[in-house]
């Protein structure tokens, strides 16, 4: 479903991604862990070309998104994204945040879009917030709305870029619960995260990234209980025993 081939990304002289290749099948839930600055977020952002790879290819449903003739906007409709800082639109209500893209891009009528939005709001447990502006929401609520907004486009895959890193500890669970539900429904997900419990219990596959490469790619049980690489061992020791 998603295939990355020999991705490189440089920021000036800084090499952030060095030859990353990855194949993601439908229904996989992939947690990407690793130290700060290892290129996790950059890699995720290359998958919908929010970040322009320096070289390499990304195929989504077989289409090369690096092809200059491709309509990247059509591809992005299939790839939902959730950000660390939510990035809700402050000038729009919760309902408008969710219905904007489906109305403008999918040709839905207002009733259809709103019906879909209310179903999603119910799913993330925030039906009563439809008329509220984002500034009135807590961090956890904002992130749940951001997930609903991405889901409103009915994407085939969801990218999560550290979705709980900016949240108060108490609010992390409410967001993870929504993500767990999504995983149970069979959504294909790539999640950059520092939540090791989530990576261990929910993911079907865990990638450990370090200095721009994927050092380890394994089932969660294997990676957490029997890491092969010394750097992985060191990282896990530090984050699990803090």
């Amino acid at each position: 479903m998603i295939e990355a081939k020999h991705l490189y990304k440089n920021f000036g002289s800084l090499k952030v991604l060095k030859d990353i290749s990855l194949n993601v099948e439908k229904g996989e839930i992939i947690a990407i862990i690793g130290p700060s600055g290892s290129g996790k977020s950059t890699f995720l952002r290359c998958l919908n070309r929010l970040e322009e790879p320096t070289s390499g290819h990304v195929y989504i449903d077989g289409e090369d998104i690096m092809d200059s003739k491709i309509d990247i906007n059509k591809i992005r409709e299939k790839v939902g994204m959730v950000f660390q800082h939510f990035n809700l639109f402050p000038n729009k209500t919760v309902l408008e945040n969710i219905t904007l893209a489906p109305l403008k891009l999918k040709g839905l009528t207002k009733e259809q879009a709103e019906k879909r939005a209310f179903a999603l709001l119910k799913r993330v447990g925030l039906e009563d917030k439809s008329q509220v502006y984002p500034s009135k929401l807590s961090g956890g609520q904002k992130q749940r709305i951001a997930i609903a907004r991405a889901l409103a486009m009915e994407p085939e895959v969801m990218l999560f870029d550290e979705p709980t890193s900016a949240l108060d500890p108490e609010m992390i669970k409410e967001v993870l619960d929504v993500m767990i539900d999504l995983a149970k429904e069979g959504m294909t997900m790539l999640i950059v995260t520092h939540e090791m419990g989530f990576a261990k219990n929910v993911a079907t596959r865990v990638l450990f990234m370090n200095e721009g490469t994927i050092l380890e790619d394994a089932r969660p049980k294997d990676l957490f209980e029997n890491p092969q690489n010394a750097r992985t061992k060191d990282f896990l020791y530090k984050v699990l025993n803090k």
Binding site: F89, N91, A150
Partner: protein, 237 residues
């Protein structure tokens, strides 16, 4: 006291001299309004050029980051902001509008000169407003599949307008006051009307004060009006 009021009455109302002030006021307001419209339209265009992502040579080594549109906009802004308005005004009147164009009304020349002058400042205000927004807003819109133009229209511009408005208002207040240099090219505005009354009455203080008070009333009224609009915009979020 009563004597002085009689005196004021003589200065301003004898031979209907207040009409000079009314005519001057009309000239100042018309120039400001026309210049503001020109400045706003040109300024928006310039700002869009300045922030554009137009890299025609991105496959040529060393030229990847060369954006001719943005370079052009910045060069324009630099020249206009780097020279005094009065110099620009006089260049327009004495260098450009000569020969066939000699009979162009001063109102038109002044509006163009002030409009072009203002556009550079407006462009910088708008550019700073847009670039000051959280980058995540554009990213979120693009990640949903919205094209650049739609993201600008729905997300970026509405937020930028709110941020820009107060600075834009002060730019237009500056513009109104700046039109008082139009006397240099023979325009008869509010300030010149005071000079005319002085020349007829030999009283320098009262006409100047009267004109100053009129400027103050105009700018204050404008500021209050805009603050009302701002408050209305802010209530939404």
């Amino acid at each position: 006291m009563l004597e002085y009021l009689e005196f004021l009455k003589w200065i301003f109302f004898d031979q209907n001299r207040y009409v000079y002030i009314l005519d001057g006021l009309l000239f100042s307001l018309a120039t400001t309004l026309a210049a503001a419209v020109i400045g706003l339209v040109l300024g928006i265009l310039l700002a869009l050029l300045a922030i554009s992502h137009f890299y025609p040579f991105k496959h040529k080594k060393g030229w990847e980051k060369f954006n001719p549109l943005s370079k052009l906009a910045f060069a324009y802004i630099n020249v206009i902001r780097g020279t005094p308005a009065v110099v620009q005004l006089m260049i327009f009147a004495n260098v450009i509008f000569v020969g066939y164009l000699r009979d162009t009304p001063i109102l038109v020349i002044a509006s163009l000169a002030f409009g072009i002058n203002s556009s550079a400042y407006v462009a910088e205000i708008i550019r700073a407003g847009i670039e000051g927004l959280d980058k995540g807003q554009m990213e979120a819109a693009r990640a949903l599949g919205m094209p650049y133009s739609l993201s600008m229209k729905e997300i970026i511009i509405p937020q930028a307008v709110k941020k820009i408005l107060p600075t834009l208002v002060s730019e237009f207040i500056v513009l109104l006051k700046e039109t008082s240099i139009v006397g240099f090219i023979g325009g008869i505005d509010l300030l010149r009307s005071a000079n005319i009354i002085t020349s007829q009455t030999y009283r320098g203080v009262e006409p100047l004060l009267a004109v100053g008070v009129i400027y103050l009333i105009l700018t204050s009224a404008f500021a209050v009006f805009m603050r009302k609009i701002e408050r209305g915009l802010r209530e939404r979020d």
